[in-house]
């Protein structure tokens, strides 16, 4: 088991493209807004 995601530690950064085609980088929110990251279990 890894401890990559731990409370009070830096959130692992990532970049994904949203469904509209915009690049979204987690660290872009840093210093601006909190982020609630929701991992969906699937829509269907």
């Amino acid at each position: 088991m890894s401890n990559r995601v731990e409370i009070n530690h830096p959130a692992p950064d990532f970049t994904l493209t949203d469904f509209k085609g915009n690049e979204v980088r987690l660290s872009d929110f840093q210093g601006k807004r909190n982020v609630l990251l929701v991992f969906n279990r699937g829509f269907f």
Partner: protein, 111 residues
């Protein structure tokens, strides 16, 4: 998702962006977002890169894809993690909102 949408303004009031990551393709995201009129950022992750980064090692996907929420403060620090044990195991918005309020207060206090 419907609950999150309902309280979206409250999350915004707490200076918080809601970012949903899922395994579907962009087209499925677009259709779902349009039908349900969701205001959040939707990130398709069909290659499971972020899903693995955040969840693989704690095995949240071994039992099928279970819901998970991670709250990250403005310094990029993880402040709250909730891994669901079954599909309905999702913390109440109120619980998350209270936590965000505490996070903001700590941030303003310079912690």
């Amino acid at each position: 998702m419907a609950q999150l949408r309902q309280d979206y303004d409250k999350f915004t009031a707490e200076d918080t962006e809601v970012v949903v990551v899922g395994p579907e393709e962009a087209r499925a995201f677009a259709a779902y977002w349009q039908i349900h009129k969701l205001p959040f950022i939707g990130l398709p992750d069909p290659r499971h890169s972020v899903l693995k980064l955040y969840g693989q090692e704690v095995s949240i996907f071994k039992l099928g894809r279970q819901p998970a929420q991670v709250s990250i403060d403005k310094k990029g620090q993880v402040r709250f993690i909730h891994y669901g044990h079954d599909p309905s195991d999702i913390p109440a918005n109120q619980e998350i909102l209270e936590l965000l309020k505490i996070m903001n207060e700590a941030s303003y206090a310079g912690h």
